[in-house]
């Protein structure tokens, strides 16, 4: 399960490794949902570039497209982001344990029992 989480976190990280995609994700997190045209109007990139990145985000499962009348509105899907945060939390906890163990070992060596 934690390995699955690693994989999902990897997908989220890969999707966010591009600055334009990060800007799109940030904007969608602010406005809830938006069309490709409105995103292109707000960000310093072309509508074509926005469309390309929206496709990548959809394929990564990070964004869904809802047809609304003649428009297509895009919004974030929260689950992968939650999985990525879960990966952060569990991985961080494992390192906390390892470093705590290291501290204990070093304290034992500095003051051997007896």
């Amino acid at each position: 399960m934690s390995a699955q989480r690693d994989a999902v976190a990897g997908a989220v990280f890969a999707a966010l490794s591009d600055p334009t995609r990060r800007a799109v994700v940030r904007r969608l997190s602010q406005v809830g949902s938006a069309t490709a045209s409105s995103l292109a109007a707000e960000l310093p990139v072309t509508r074509q570039a926005i469309s390309k990145h929206l496709v990548a985000l959809r394929e990564a499962g990070l964004v869904v497209a809802d047809p609304v009348g003649r428009e297509v509105r895009y919004r974030l899907t929260p689950a992968p982001f939650a999985d990525a945060m879960g990966w952060m939390a569990s991985t961080g906890a494992r390192w906390d344990e390892r470093l705590a163990r290291l501290e204990r070992r070093l304290a034992e060596r500095a003051a051997p029992p007896g």
Binding site: S2, A3, Q4, D6, A7, V8, A9, G10, A11, V12, F13, A14, A15, L16, S17, D18, P19, T20, R22, A23, V25, R26, L43, P44, V45, K52, V55, A56, E59, A60, G61, P80, A84, W87, M88, T91, G92, R94, W95, D96, R98, L99, R101, L102, E103, R105, L106, A110
Partner: protein, 135 residues
């Protein structure tokens, strides 16, 4: 372009980073990273991989065995490796252990992050199906 000057959100928010100051010089602290027996006192239950660049093997932790490949070793300074669950090829993460000089001794910095977040190559359209598979 303006967007490219932003700090990476992935690095900012999505990498695990921990540090611990050790009351030793870097030379004294180095075996904690570079010696398998020392790694087994804190990092994992069993380290069956040589701490040499390109070496591969396994690391056993309380959660099970992981496949590991050592990427970089700078004696006295740094060990970097990739590891993953044997059953999950997509779950590769990069672990970087670094020693820095600080007035109190040596600071051990640990960073772990999923490998695909590294901006080594822009995600091509062909990256899409891979990402879907990772779900």
């Amino acid at each position: 372009m303006e967007l490219h000057n932003e700090p990476s959100l992935a690095e900012e928010c999505l990498a695990v980073r921990r540090e611990l100051v050790l009351p030793f010089t870097r030379e004294e602290a180095w075996p904690l990273l570079g010696d398998r027996a020392e790694l087994e006192t804190w990092f994992a239950d069993e380290v069956s991989v040589d701490i040499e660049e390109g070496a591969g093997g396994t690391v056993r932790t309380e959660e099970g065995e992981r496949i590991a490949v050592v990427e970089e070793v700078v004696p006295g300074r740094r060990v970097t490796f990739r590891w993953r669950d044997p059953a999950e090829p997509e779950s590769v993460t990069l672990v970087d252990l670094t020693l820095d000089d600080v007035p109190e001794g040596t600071r051990l910095v640990v960073v772990e992050l999923p490998v695909r977040s590294l901006p080594v190559a822009p995600a091509a359209p062909s990256g899409g199906p891979q990402l879907v598979a990772a779900r």
